[in-house]
Amino acid sequence: MRIFVVVMTILVFCGAFAYVSHSAMIRYGDPPYTEMDDYFIRNGQEQTGANNIVTSVVFDYRGFDTLGEASVLFTAVLGVGITLRKGSEWGGKEI
């Protein structure tokens, strides 16, 4: 049963992959639409003053994503903290 599921999954994913790989929309080394990224490369240095365009994207153009990502890290730290907190094996009333 287990092997059957695995083989089916592999077949499904390989089939999907073969199905997709016929599509010529994305070619390696030649992305089709690059207006947004060209805008960053063209204007990023003057608008933000950062030489590293990736940093200017991370902290300026898409700065809100970075806030979210930092929040994810904060969430994970809190989660680790409460999962491994001391005295977590209390007895007594449930809920």
């Binding site: 999907a16 929309m25 992305p31 994503d65 904060f74 969430t75 989660g79 209390w90 009333k93 809920i95």
Partner: protein, 527 residues
């Protein structure tokens, strides 16, 4: 800061405020625990007011767009960019406003409710911070108009949810539920990320409106569609992927369960947003509509049949949550199946639109009454310490007000007038009957089974003689009462004046959801 600029900046503030609350909560508790509680509740009240204020403005004056990091928050397209938006844009239309209303109300109720029920635990700082992060994540998920940003908020809400599910370690059992939830939502999130990458690779943009405008529905788009819809349907708890729902809902603290319901609804919102706004008529409406309908019918039926033999209160209610999700999928699925016949006097105008109104209306109703039911269950378990239905009994003598709230919730979920569950279910029955009578019959049957199940719960929890082991039991503490009362009032209002709610909130939401060109027009200021 005057009122106009508050309106202008409200989409950013409504997410930034709970985040700020979450980050500052651990600092406050160093001075005084009481101060921290006041800080959290006051901050949550502010967030709720801000959210309702924003929703009011959106519904009254039209969508609000907010561009992060730009010199002018309303200028979506910089003049030198060649006509494409480049920054992260929040696009709050009527559908987002609808979800914000739900999140604001249930978030406030659960925050107030949580204090007495968690008072005896260690790590309350982290609890509050995680609750705020969960609220912020869900708010961001419903407001955003950017796919990658949606992924980030999806991850915030799933990680915060998983950590909160595991909050009561419970000899490892709650952690097991949390692990299940975290694993499933992480795998889902990764699929979502791969789909976003595929869409970006083809269209060079991450904005939903831009991709919707350029959408060609190539093979890769179909691949991406599957990779996006499956995780979102899984997060929403639709049937083939529902196995995490009862575990996570039954082991989480009750206040969290009430909010996890809303979190699932937000995933459902994201699913609808992807289907209706991103793909819209490019996909084969009829086929995809029927897929959604079948998912919905399966969820309804399997959810309710699994709920009948359950012995623990919250697990039973969790299966009912799956079953109620089916109603929303059914209503919106009928709308999607008929979407291609729009504006021609076709099936969409005859029944699809009403079905969608019913399905979307059911989202707010479900969030309210399911939240209320979980909160009452939490209050009972908080006072008695028993979660097994067979051991409970006779609580009607001592927990009178809780019993009243439970009755309101149970009648509402079973679709009995004059409560709000009836108002949305009747819309679904009527319109689905026109679409396909068999589906309507199944929906009514499921509703009857739901009523039967809740009669059983009511009987075994509250009826019967007063048991000696519950002689000491008092009614729930006041903050808990306040949390439950808020939701109960919303249910009664929604039930007594359904037309006001549908006309002012639900109809605009459905219009916003089905009208793809209006969404695109808010980004591209077209004539």
């Amino acid at each position: 800061m005057n009122l106009d600029s508050l309106v202008k900046h409200s989409p950013a503030l409504v997410v930034a405020l709970p985040l700020l609350l979450a980050f500052s909560t651990p600092l406050w508790s160093r001075f005084n625990k009481q101060l921290r509680n006041i800080w959290v509740v006051a901050g949550m009240c502010m967030t709720t007011l801000l959210g309702l204020f924003m929703a009011y403005n959106v519904l009254r004056y039209g969508p609000i767009t907010y561009v992060f990091g730009a010199s002018d928050p309303t200028q979506t397209i910089p003049h030198d960019s060649g006509g494409i938006p480049i920054r992260i844009i929040f696009n709050v239309d009527a559908m987002s406003a609808f979800m914000v209303i739900i999140i604001a109300i249930v978030g406030l109720a659960t925050t107030i409710y949580a204090r007495p029920s968690e008072l005896r635990r260690k790590g309350l700082n982290s609890f509050y911070a995680l609750l705020m992060l969960l609220i912020a994540g869900v708010l961001g998920l419903v407001c955003t108009g950017d796919l990658f940003n949606m992924f980030v908020f999806f991850e915030i809400s799933s990680l915060a949810g998983a950590a909160l599910v595991a909050y009561r370690i419970d000899k490892g059992i709650a952690v097991e539920a949390g692990l299940k939830y975290a694993l499933i939502s992480t795998v889902g999130g990764l699929f979502f990320l791969i789909a976003v990458a595929l869409l970006y690779g083809q269209y060079g943009s991450l904005n939903i409106a831009v991709i919707a405008k350029m959408m060609q529905f190539t093979r890769l788009d179909r691949f991406a569609l599957v990779f996006i819809t499956v995780p979102l349907a899984m997060k929403a708890g639709a049937v083939p992927m529902h196995m995490w729902t009862p575990d996570a809902y039954s082991r989480a603290p009750s206040s969290i369960t009430a909010f996890l319901v809303v979190s699932s609804q937000a995933s459902l919102y994201a699913l609808f947003r992807i289907l209706f706004t991103l793909y819209n008529v490019t996909l084969d409406c009829r086929t995809f509509g029927w897929i959604i309908i079948i998912l919905g019918v399966l969820s309804m039926f399997i959810g309710v049949t699994m709920a009948l033999p359950q012995k623990t209160v919250k697990r039973l209610m969790a299966y009912h949550a799956i079953s109620q999700t089916g109603y929303m999928l059914l209503g919106v699925g009928v709308g999607l199946a008929t979407l291609c016949d729009q504006d021609k006097g076709g099936a969409f105008d005859v029944c699809g639109r009403t079905a969608m109104v019913g399905g979307v209306f059911h989202i707010i109703n479900h969030a309210m009454y399911k939240g209320l039911l979980f909160l009452t269950a939490g209050a009972v378990i908080h006072r008695t310490g028993v979660r097994n239905l067979e051991e409970l009994g006779g609580l009607g003598h001592s927990m009178k007000l809780t019993m009243v709230f439970f009755i309101i919730g149970a009648l509402s979920i079973a679709g009995i007038p004059p409560f709000n569950g009836f108002a949305s279910k009747i819309l679904i029955y009527e319109s689905v009957f026109m679409f396909s009578p068999y589906l309507a019959i199944i929906a009514i049957l499921v509703s009857i089974l739901t009523l039967a199940s809740f009669v059983k719960v009511f009987h075994s929890m509250f009826m019967g003689p007063k048991l000696p082991k519950f002689a000491e039991v008092k009614d729930a503490p006041t903050p808990m009462m306040f949390g439950m009362g808020l939701l109960a009032v919303m249910i009664v209002i929604g039930g007594l004046f359904p037309t006001i709610v549908t006309e002012n909130i639900v109809e605009p939401a459905v219009t916003a959801l089905t009208n793809q060109s209006a969404y695109i027009r808010t980004i591209f200021i077209l004539p």
